[in-house]
Subunit: 344 residues, 2 copies
């Protein structure tokens, strides 16, 4: 039982979405202590009932007054909602853990993967009466850096080339439903319904639907470039990424090529990854068994495999790896709840 | 009408497979001239009927005598069948265009993409009475080099990092059927049938099922590394690849990161690709329209997009691109038929 009078009061914002629902599931799984919890969402969802920890709650409409008496608020809404309500809640004393991209690159806002840069949380605690904004990194960044950071700490990554294989869940619950619907339609010889995505997703793949920025990269790719620098507190690391949406439900995969400053051989890399928190290795060459999205779906930990010396680089200055992680869990809700746990 | 008495006599070996069938379709589409055609396959498929150019043929069992009087034989069988029958046919005067990996890296065997290295075909002609073995490169190599070679000729590729998104068709017609069957099963809440692949393919992806070699790369990846060097006749170019099977039917996609010896800006790259034979550009940033496997399915040409200066490299010494090509067509049958056309 994690309902305790002395524990912090919570609010979950965007509670009816895919990540919002996962917030509840992870909070409950981890017996997060709380004295009360407010279920908040847009007007459209207000009045719906959600279950949490054996009780039923009525979803309330998010308003400026919603954060009265709330110690910690977990946000998973669009960036514009976060921008409107996040700073105001923080000013009134609430610690906001925000899953949107709204504040990630803002100076002074902590961008945190607890296993990677816990030091960025320094001084932010519940019970001090001081509010704060903390940003949850983008799912692709979290999953990538969970595996790459232990290697980076050992050999310093100079340059990283990432190609992603991203699941439907990154675009929300409705996108997952559309993938199922489209697949049924295509199998039945019917034209696919395209509401969320502008094109056929079933048995197809396409460049990530985030807007393209001025340099030709899409925003999803630039998140990997910029967030890596901020999380590692390393302005020099070079990152490039190509982000692709594949017809998979809820876990992302990433092919990562690494160039190091210092030598790092395959076996040392394996050793480092074996010890890394939140990471496990699936790398059996004999049976051709490596990480897949299904392996990590609904799981907390990130799987890494295909660990091999990069044949395109001399000596032990390069590695290729393949990483899979649950987009909704470690890529979003779990990471946010882990941040929240550090506030206690 | 391409049936002409003075034209070469043909054999299609492995005619009942996915690529074998595509050989027939491409030969017919391109009005390839022939005086006769033998339809060959394993004992199991002998006696089946296949349609070609408005006629019906009976599939004959492949034997040592099958190539008597055959000028050109198109092989699409496993490597062991090619090894058994290819050299013997060539010795008897047949020009063999082989789609397997059996001879690709053998010294003296031409490995040809007609748009890329036609010079490798020098001296091989039908009507000289001399047989030969010509190898069709691996599908991923063909699709990649169709887009990259025009850039390479301009700025010399120093290093290339490729991540593939490969379709079911590369594992044959039965694999495509298994993907459909598994998808139906998963949608119905049933466990997926795994005959061709050892694990769930529907709504999942996995490291390419080719055997892993000693260096930790799988054979599919090493084909990209080695074939690129042979086709470009460049022993220095550095290539690394990660090959992944995605739940798509018949076209491969590849994310390609390029490091050049000489500068090459985005606009020049676009200009070079616009003029490249067998390549077309889909690269509309405003509408987020880029190549997809479905765009190129059943098409001859390779599509390229997401052309952008690599932000992880200084100046104009790097590009990221995304390439899609039909695995069965340009990745196999079309390329082989184009080679065959050069023999006339």
């Amino acid at each position: 039982m994690s309902l305790q009078e002395s524990a912090p009061s919570l609010a979950v914002v965007g509670v009816t979405g895919a990540v919002g629902q996962e917030f509840l599931s992870v909070l409950s799984d981890r017996d997060f202590p709380y004295s009360s919890v407010k279920m908040l969402a847009s007007k459209r969802s207000a009045g719906k009932r959600v279950a949490f920890d054996g009780r039923e709650y009525t979803v309330e409409e998010l308003t400026a007054d919603s954060f009265e008496g709330v110690d910690i608020a977990l946000f998973s809404t669009g960036g514009s909602i976060s921008k409107e309500f996040g700073p105001r809640a923080a000013e009134r004393g609430t610690i906001v853990v925000d899953n949107s991209s709204a504040f990630r690159m803002v100076d002074g806002v902590s961008l945190v993967i607890p296993e990677v840069n816990p030091e960025a949380m320094k001084g932010i605690k519940v019970g001090t009466g001081k509010g704060a904004l903390i940003a949850n990194p983008n799912c692709s960044t979290i999953i990538c850096l969970m595996a790459v950071t232990p290697l980076h700490h050992h050999a310093k990554v100079k340059r990283m080339v990432v190609s992603t294989y991203q699941a439907a869940s990154g675009a929300g619950a409705a996108a997952m439903e559309e993938l199922v619907q489209q697949t049924r339609e295509v199998l039945a010889g019917k034209p696919p319904t395209c509401n969320i995505f502008s094109q056929q997703y079933a048995f197809n793949l396409f460049s990530h639907n985030a807007p393209i920025t001025e340099n030709g990269y899409n925003e999803e790719e630039m998140k990997l470039v910029k967030e890596t620098r901020k999380i590692w507190n390393d302005t020099e690391v070079k990152v490039t990424a190509t982000c692709i949406r594949v017809p998979v439900m809820r876990a992302h995969a990433e092919s990562v090529n690494l160039q190091f400053e210092n030598p790092l051989d395959e076996n040392t890399a394996r050793e480092l990854l074996r010890k890394a928190p939140g990471v496990y290795i699936i790398d059996d060459r004999a049976s051709n068994t490596f990480p897949t999205p299904l392996d990590v779906s609904n799981k907390d930990d990130v799987a890494v495999g295909r660990i091999r010396r990069d044949v395109s680089q001399d000596g032990n200055f390069g590695l290729d790896i393949f990483v899979c992680g649950d987009q909704i869990r470690k890529g979003a809700a779990l990471n946010a709840v882990q941040i929240t746990e550090m506030l206690l």
